[in-house]
Amino acid sequence: MSRLWLVLLSLAFGAVLAAEPNAVLKAGVFDPARIAPDFTLRGSNGSDVTLSRYRGKLVLLAFGYTSCTEVCPITLAVLARARKELAASGADLQVVYVTVDPARDSVARMHDYLANFDPSFIGGTGTERELAAVRQAYGIVATKFPAGNGYGIAHSSSVYVVDRDGGLRAMMPYGHPADDYVHDVKLLLKK
């Protein structure tokens, strides 16, 4: 009899959890999710970085450039904090940061830049043509503008969420705090 009560209680608890409104992602969700366009670029860790190699992990995919002064430092700091807050489950999370500025973002420069935020973050660079193809596949905007003696690049600032099966599941707009990433990553890692 007590076992029956236990089963009923578990079912009721499960129903409450399922109805929990927080079960909705904070990020924008694609329905249906398509397979994230694959790419292979030169990785900041010295070897090639291929997106599909991260199947089984959750990937947060960001686009930017190391000379960015406004958007990228904030986005990467937020992602680093989220990964830290995730503690052990952060090991199932991979941040991939693809440059929109191959002329300045060499492998070494990206490695040093990303190490300031989290040594596990991986940068991807390549030729202008390779990177343009990646941007087109994800609908990323990157437009040069004159700044000082050089140039800046206005670029899409959202972060794509690729699930464990390689599905392009969601997109987190710029400005969300680390807690929102932690919330969504935990939910997606449970599934």
Binding site: G28, G139, P173
Partner: protein
């Protein structure tokens, strides 16, 4: 006699406006769905190729927390489309909830400015704010919330 009748009519009209204003300010705003939906209809790409200037997504979208705070984009066309800040496949939808009142800027190639703005307002909590919000929504969208 006519003056008295006119006075009565004006008084009735004023009473009706007052009653409506009281209702609009005191009744909490309740909606069936919090989705603000924009759809790319089938054939949009073909129309654009034929030279039609098709604008679906306004450059500024106004949402209100707790009332209409989920932006839903749907691509019903046969080809991929850049819709607001996202690239969407045919038949795909994108559902973006907003939890903080603020002004959000998105890069968007669909607009001449290259930007799309989403303004998210606080939920109108006081009677005066509710009245203003209802009137503003009526003027902007032509529908009584």
């Amino acid at each position: 006699m006519i003056a008295r009748r006119r006075l009565w009519l004006w008084s009735a009209a004023a009473a009706a406006v007052l009653a409506l204003s009281l209702w609009a300010s005191l009744t909490p705003v309740a909606v069936g769905s919090r989705d603000e939906i924009f759809e790319i209809p089938k054939g949009t790409w073909a129309r654009r190729m034929a030279g039609d200037k098709v604008e679906i997504l306004p450059s500024t979208i106004r949402l209100t927390l707790g009332i209409r705070d989920i932006l839903v984009l749907v691509n019903r066309d046969d080809v991929p489309q850049i819709f607001g800040p996202v690239l969407m496949m045919p038949g795909q939808s994108f559902r973006l909830p907003f939890g903080v009142a603020s002004r959000y800027q998105f890069a968007c190639t669909a607009h001449a400015s290259g930007q799309m703005t989403v303004i998210v307002d606080e939920m109108p909590a006081t009677p005066w704010a509710r009245l203003l919000w209802r009137m503003g929504t009526l003027l902007r969208s032509g529908r009584w919330p």
